[in-house]
């Protein structure tokens, strides 16, 4: 056994008291094995990963248990002994490479630090080795990229450079802490491919921490599922995917199966609820949108997909009137709306509502739930007193949060999913026809996200609402969309009904986007690489377009 953790208890300090983070978890890792550690936010997976290195962040302590690495007890070892292991035999790859590289030094300087300081290689050898690793990880211009500063290199490349840095001493164990979470799907795939290849080549053991099941399915030999600091179950990857034994694991797997039935096609000649026609927009002098057009019909959901910087959210800002377009028009029920929201009438404002990505910033932390919902009701309908309260109770009933329990709470007393529900109620309070949902599920755990999607679907059927659903997650698109608009660099690349979009032939970019989304099949990455070739994925492929 390379790593043995027995009955490990970890605690974190908040407000002068110690709260449990990990409650008596065992973990075993053989040489050369990759263990996937999955769980929702707050499951304690990162803390456990770091504890496997014998390291605790400030405000975290180990209260009980043992951690041993290759026969060395990490919890009683002296600081010097631990320093001798870290970097040399145990390495770490962090979530944000941009923040984890020191901005003051060149990449190669940071790469050679561990080998030279641990006395493994000379400076020159280590530099040569670094370049060889960059070559293996398919970084562009491997002989020179190391001589750049971290801010001069893109996120996906930095993440691979950090993997190379972790490899610099050929460690026995690498902890990967959500290394691809911050990346776009097309970038994520090339980082995944690179990590997997190099870990296999050097037969390095790894603990791969992530919340994404499909990703872990590609990377891990074995999977351990955590829930609120407790282990739910552990099994090898194929068994875990095909036959989970615990209810919690099953429910995690089931999230991916939610899909709405197809709707009848739109009646030809029907007036769309919202029509975006030839919209160009710019922030100052920087053009962001070019000739964007699409329609949204009553009772339907149009998913706008694309990677960061593709102009999805800017399109939403144009529709709401926060960013008046330079050209083109937005019409609502056939009637052209003023471009600036300040020039719109109260009724026009009422018709377009918005639900935000970050429920934390979308709700005023100083206002109670009841007041958050009653303000728009009162503002638009003029209801007061008992009638107002009745309407608010009704709305809270619709979002499945009974007013009796939640009316007087502050947002800080709610969970993420509950906050998002309040955001939905606030939008419904205006009795709109059309709601823009801006990445509403991307900050939520999968189970909670599914609940929100089901709620939105039900509300759409009951109230025949139209949604514009901005997302980068194609699983969400598959679950809820009726039509899909694909955007890239401020242009609409392709659009059409969902069914058509998910069936080939696609536009080249749509195809890349679709094929880059990891699937729950453990062979998916292998097949894809065999299918497309390593040079036709990720940024390399985007650059060819």
């Amino acid at each position: 056994m390379l790593v043995t953790i027995r009955d490990l208890w970890l605690e974190g300090r908040s407000d002068e008291t110690w709260n449990p983070i990990i409650n008596g978890v065992d973990l075993d890792l053989k040489k050369g094995e990759v263990l996937g550690l999955i769980g929702e936010s707050g499951a304690g997976k990162s803390t456990l990963g770091l504890a496997a290195m014998g390291y605790c962040r400030d405000g975290v302590r180990i209260s009980k248990g043992s951690v041993s690495f290759d026969g060395i007890d990490l919890l009683t070892a002296s600081a010097a002994v631990k320093r001798g292991l870290l970097g040399k035999r145990i390495a770490y790859v962090a979530q944000s490479a941009a923040a984890s590289f020191n901005p003051a030094h060149k990449i190669i300087e940071q790469h050679i630090e561990a080998p030279t300081q641990h006395g493994i290689m000379s400076r020159a050898d280590s530099e040569q080795d670094g370049m060889a690793l960059y070559q293996k990880l398919r970084l562009p211009d491997p002989d020179n990229i190391g001589f750049r500063y971290p801010h001069q290199v893109s996120g996906g490349q930095l993440q691979r450079a950090m993997t190379a840095m972790a490899m610099s001493c050929r460690p026995d164990l690498i902890i990967f802490d959500e290394p691809t979470t911050a990346l776009d799907v097309t970038t994520q795939i090339e980082v995944l491919a690179a990590i997997r290849e190099i870990v296999e080549e050097y037969n390095t053991a790894a603990i791969y921490i992530t919340h994404d099941l499909a990703v872990v399915a590609q990377m891990a030999d074995r999977i351990k599922v955590l829930l609120k600091g407790d282990e739910v179950e552990t099994a090898d990857t194929r068994t875990m995917l095909s036959a989970p034994t615990q209810e919690y694991t099953k429910s995690l797997w089931a999230v991916r199966s939610f899909e709405r039935p197809l709707k009848a096609p739109v009646v030809a000649g029907a007036v769309p609820v919202v029509a975006v026609k030839g919209v160009d927009a710019a922030y100052g002098k920087v053009p962001v949108l070019h000739d964007v057009s699409f329609d949204i019909h009553e009772g339907r959901t149009v998913a706008v997909v694309g990677e960061s910087g593709s102009g999805k959210s800017t399109t939403a800002r144009c529709i709401t009137g926060l960013l008046p377009p330079k050209a083109g028009e937005i019409s609502f029920g056939g009637e052209v709306m003023p471009a600036d929201y300040r020039k719109r009438t109260k009724d026009q404002l009422r018709q377009v509502q918005m639900i935000y990505q970050m429920a934390d910033t979308a709700l005023n932390p100083r206002v109670t739930v009841g007041n958050i919902i009653s303000r728009p009701v009162q503002f638009y309908s003029g209801l007061t007193g008992g009638a107002l309260r009745k309407r608010v109770d009704e709305l809270m009933e619709q979002i499945e949060l009974p007013a009796a329990d939640y009316y007087n709470r502050l947002p800080s007393e709610l969970s993420g999913g509950q906050k998002q529900r309040i955001g939905i109620a606030r939008a419904l309070a205006a009795e709109p026809k059309f709601i823009i949902c801006d990445e509403v599920t991307s900050a939520l755990d999968q189970l909670v996200a599914e609940g929100i999607l089901r709620l939105l679907a039900r509300l759409q059927d009951e109230l025949s609402l139209s949604y514009m659903f901005i997302t980068h997650d194609l699983a969400t698109v598959r679950a809820i969309a009726d039509e899909v608009v694909v955007m890239k660099d401020g242009r609409v690349v392709e659009q059409g009904p969902k069914h058509d979009m998910f069936t080939p032939p696609h536009h080249a970019y749509t195809d890349l986007l679709l094929s880059s989304v990891p699937e729950m099949d453990p062979d998916w990455l292998t097949n894809l690489l065999a299918d497309r070739g390593v040079d036709n994925i990720g940024d390399a492929a985007v650059d060819k377009m």
């Binding site: 923040a99 984890s100 590289f101 901005p103 630090e113 300081q117 500063y149 001069q152």
Partner: protein
């Protein structure tokens, strides 16, 4: 590099512009005085000659713009005008010698710079070292004690610190002189000894500020993921500090130093008065009391210029030490 140069030139231009506007503000403020202010300044007892002389000196018969321009060009060429007090003295006593504001300010300015220099030499190394230590050993007894002491020192008025030091180091244990009677031709060590007590007073106040800001900057830095990364690479604590924290801490620390030296500019005024130190601060306060407008204006402009210059230096140095700006994409 061109990028950095253009940013720095921009800052310099902005600094100059600010100074120009500040000079307008100072000039205008004085021109807000009611009525014929030569008379109101000098009061009832003024001789007609003195009033007339001041009027001529200020060019009260000209328009404000002309007056401002001539004042400004005077400032630029080193002609700061003639002090009212000196004018009164001359007209009353029959005018021996012609003492201009420049003659009054120049020696005092050099005294003040000496005081500020001594303070900085003591305060900067101590403050930065203690600040870094407090950050490294945060939440220990040392850090908490340092926190309480620096907060107390910041909270105390300068004159309180000054009198405590006088009490301890001059009255109870006669180690240093409590009055700083500095004159020309003093030996350096004698001069240093006389300057030490005011310098120590300023040190106490400035060190506290500087140390707290250094501590905050370093703690902020130590929380960065790249510091954690360095630790997880098995680097020694010393190397983490020297190689990973320090290069990035340079900009905030330089900023802290410059800001606190700028703070010294105000600090000297009170301390000079307590120790009767013949610097520009004391001259300024004396002139304020006797409403000696030309001197007040000149001192004010000098203080503002020093302040702007130090802030500008902080700005430029932190731009220079930012790798993102030094090595653009």
């Amino acid at each position: 590099m061109d990028n950095v140069l253009s940013i720095i030139l921009q800052r310099l231009a902005l600094g100059l512009l600010t100074l120009l506007i500040v000079s307008v503000v100072i000039f205008t403020a004085v021109n807000l005085l009611p009525g014929d202010f030569a008379e109101s300044i000098l009061g009832q007892g003024a001789t007609p000659e003195a009033v007339k002389s001041i009027r001529e000196d200020l060019g009260l018969d000209q328009g404000p713009v002309t007056r401002y321009l001539s004042w400004l060009s005077g400032m630029l060429t080193g002609d700061l005008g003639t002090s009212f007090a000196q004018l009164m003295f001359q007209t009353n006593m029959g005018g021996a010698g012609d003492v201009t504001v420049v003659d009054q300010i120049a020696p005092r300015l050099s005294n003040t710079l000496f005081l500020a220099g001594v303070t900085a030499m003591i305060a900067v190394p101590i403050a930065v070292t203690l600040g870094v230590l407090a950050a490294l050993y945060r939440n220990t007894v040392f850090d908490r004690a340092a926190n309480v002491m620096t907060l107390s020192s910041i909270s105390s008025p300068e004159f309180f610190m000054a009198y405590i030091l006088i009490l301890v180091l001059a009255v109870l244990n006669p180690i240093l002189p409590s009055l700083s009677n500095i004159y020309d031709g003093m030996s350096f060590s004698e001069r240093l000894e006389k300057t030490l007590l005011p310098a120590l007073t300023l040190t106490l106040v400035v060190t506290a500020h500087m140390m707290r800001m250094t501590r905050a900057a370093i703690i902020n830095l130590l929380a960065s993921p790249y510091i954690e990364m360095a630790r997880l690479k098995g680097m020694s604590p010393m190397r983490v500090i020297v190689k990973h924290a320090l290069p990035n801490a340079l900009a905030p620390i330089i900023n802290v130093i410059a800001l606190n030296l700028a703070y010294l500019v105000t600090g000297v005024v009170v301390v000079e008065v307590v120790f009767v130190y013949p610097g520009i601060g004391q001259l300024f306060v004396d002139s304020v009391k006797i409403r000696d407008i030309p001197v007040v204006q000149a001192c004010c402009l000098i203080f503002a210029a020093a302040y702007i210059l130090l802030n500008l230096t902080a700005d430029v140095l932190s731009i220079l030490s930012n790798p993102r700006l030094r090595h653009p994409k």
